[in-house]
Structures are given as structure tokens and as C-alpha cells.
Symmetry: C2
Subunit: 207 residues, 2 copies
């Protein structure tokens, strides 16, 4: 635990942002190293040596390299149980994970840069690609609101931020980029509660 | 624990198949109720009452309804620790989860029926849609092989099946449907080890 963790990622990557939030919520310090997805730096040998999958983020921690943002969040939660990212009850944990996966499995992979670029390569115009992304996010956030308890707050699952919030907040940055209207949603109040906490601050663009 | 679990799903749904494997590995009996995705039965009121997200599967168990296949698998593993779907060491757990998510987040959502139908609605022909699915699966399975330990077996992470195998095997059914050549891969030997176990048997099509 003496060695400083290194987060290898990209500021616009939702998955990198998730890990950044989890590290910060746990009070762990880390060095951040940027790999521009625009320049495909995640496919350069230096990064592939860390993660052969060629996807950000990768986290160097405790002498090992971990990948997949949700696996990293669970790792951090198991190793540093306080503050907890998941509740104690087995049933409640399943509910928080289900909301997190509704973003991480059903929304994010369908509207990330790689997929949108594949649509463009098939000859789809920017307007169609934007609608694809916006529709995916709108449907996903509507589903998310149904998966969290009604009228409890200020976070998705009560008084403290959870794995669900860690997935939600980075997705909202994408939502805004594609013009999703969040004004009438409960999600907006959850976002405000999260962004009032320093660990949820976005990763700044690298100079 | 006296009440019988009810698995609501569809035989061709990878996510339903994952939960079926996990229930069977844990030795839990369950009733299976089929909702045809071809007929959009997952969007009918009877199913939306179980899962407002309108996605199979939903699992009725212990007086509650759970959704999201990976959340259900973690729930079953926490409630019934033997046989374990995740190893004991925190680091090893992160590695197994990373491989599972490489399928469940990076492959399956990008090539499921819903997304392929959206591509068709954009005017893409069946040949383009098939290539989309096949390429996604090929890239994902190649990544999966890099995320599992080399030359240990017979399962993805050693001598017993794990959450990673639970995600892999249903994906292979899709791989075959789209003509992915698995003959030279280590995945094929993992598949053989899994399919030799009764819990990994596919869900039969409903009559």
C-alpha cells in the first residue's frame, strides 16, 4: 500500500472517470496518465502492455495492473471497505449493481466512441449517429430512474454515493454532449448531490 | 428459501442463459418461464411488472425480483458461497470479473438482437449486420483470451468454473450463429470443459 497507484486513462472516457471517482471516494491518491483516444494512443504498445484489450482505463495498484472499470471498483471496495460503494444486505447490493449495470452494460457500450465511429464507417451521417447516441442514453436513463428507489435521496440509493452513482455521473457528461434533456428528471438532483462532492469532479482535459 | 425461484427469460438470451447456469451450478431448482423476444413479449405489461427495463431475465427469488444477469450472479454467489463463482483473493476476483465484463459489457450489448435490429432500421443489409456482429464477437473473444491466464485450465480461470465461464459460454452460442471460427482457440477447449457439466446445458427453445 506504500506505492502510489497509477490511473492510465482518458478524460472523456466514462470508464476512466468511474475509476477516478472510486479512487477519490476511497481517499486513495493516484497519478493520472493520459492516453488520447482521438489519437488511438490506447492501441500503442505502451498501453497494450498494460491492457492487451486496448481499452482505457488500466490501474496500476499494489504491484499489479487491473482493467475493466467495474472490476476495479469492486476491487477497491473489497480492499478498502469504507466508505462502502455497495450496501451490506445481499438484496440491496443486487439492486445497486443492477442500476450500475443498466448504465455500464446497456448504455455506455452502445454509444461509446468506438461504436459511433463504426456507424460512421458504415456511411451513417453525423445526424443519424447523434440520434443513435441520444436515443440510447435517453432510454437508458429512463430505465435507470425505474431501477432506483423512488423519493429517497439525495443519491441514487439513499444517503451515500454508491457504485450506481459512479456509473451514472460519467454517463451524464455524454448525455449533455448529445443534447439529452435532463431538466425534469430525478437524475438531475442526484447529479447535483454527487457534483457537490469533490471525488465526483471530472477529469480535466490534458494540456 | 422454501419458495421455488422463477426465472423469467428467453432461451436465446445470453443474459438468461448466464443466470440459468449460475442457478444450476449452485444446485438451486427453479421454474423457467419463457418470454419470446421475437414477439416482444418482454415489453408486455406482465413482464414490465417484473422488470420495468423491459429486458430479460428477471429472477423471482426469496420474495423479491432481481434483474441484470451479473447482479443476479453476484447475489447468488453471496447467498450461496459454494461452489464459488469468484475466487477468494481480492486480486484474483478482479481478474475474473474483468474477463466476465469483457464479454458482458464490451461484446454482448453491441451485438444483441436489439442493436442489430436498430442497424437494420438504419437501412443496413443483413450482410453488413452479420459482419458487425461477427467482428464484435471475434474482437471480444480475442481480448478474452488475453485476459485469462495462459495454459491453466480446463476452465477460464483454473480447475472450477467461474463468473467468466458463465459469461463466455452463452456468447459462444452467438459466435457460432454468426459464423465465428473457434477451431484454433483455447476458448474451444474451455467450452468443451464447461459443456461437459450439466449446469452449462443450454436452455431449450420453448414448445
Amino acid at each position: 500500500m506504500t506505492e502510489q497507484a497509477k490511473l492510465h486513462g482518458f478524460f472523456r472516457s466514462s470508464a476512466t472517470y468511474r475509476v477516478k471517482i472510486a479512487l477519490a471516494l476511497k481517499g486513495l491518491t493516484f497519478e493520472y496518465l493520459s492516453y488520447s483516444l482521438r489519437n488511438k494512443e490506447q492501441l500503442a504498445p505502451a498501453f497494450l502492455a498494460l491492457n492487451p484489450q486496448g481499452l482505457v482505463p488500466a490501474l496500476e495498484i499494489n504491484g499489479a495492473v487491473l482493467t475493466q472499470s467495474l472490476a476495479i471498483c469492486e476491487y477497491l471496495d473489497e480492499l478498502h471497505p469504507t466508505p462502502a460503494l455497495l450496501p451490506n444486505s445481499v438484496f440491496a447490493r443486487a439492486k445497486v449493481r443492477a442500476a450500475a449495470y443498466a448504465i455500464a452494460c446497456d448504455v455506455h457500450p452502445v454509444q461509446n466512441l468506438k461504436i459511433l465511429n463504426r456507424l460512421r464507417a458504415l456511411g451513417q451521417g453525423d445526424d443519424v449517429v447523434d440520434i443513435w447516441a441520444r436515443t440510447t442514453i435517453e432510454e437508458g436513463l429512463a430505465a435507470y430512474e425505474k431501477l432506483i428507489p423512488a423519493e429517497v435521496g439525495p443519491f441514487s440509493f439513499g444517503a451515500t454515493p454508491s457504485l450506481a452513482d459512479i456509473c451514472l455521473i460519467p454517463q451524464l457528461a455524454n448525455a449533455r454532449r448529445f443534447g439529452v434533456d435532463l431538466s425534469a428528471t430525478r437524475i438531475r438532483t442526484i447529479e447535483a448531490a454527487c457534483l457537490a462532492l469533490k471525488p465526483f469532479a471530472p477529469i480535466p482535459d490534458s494540456p
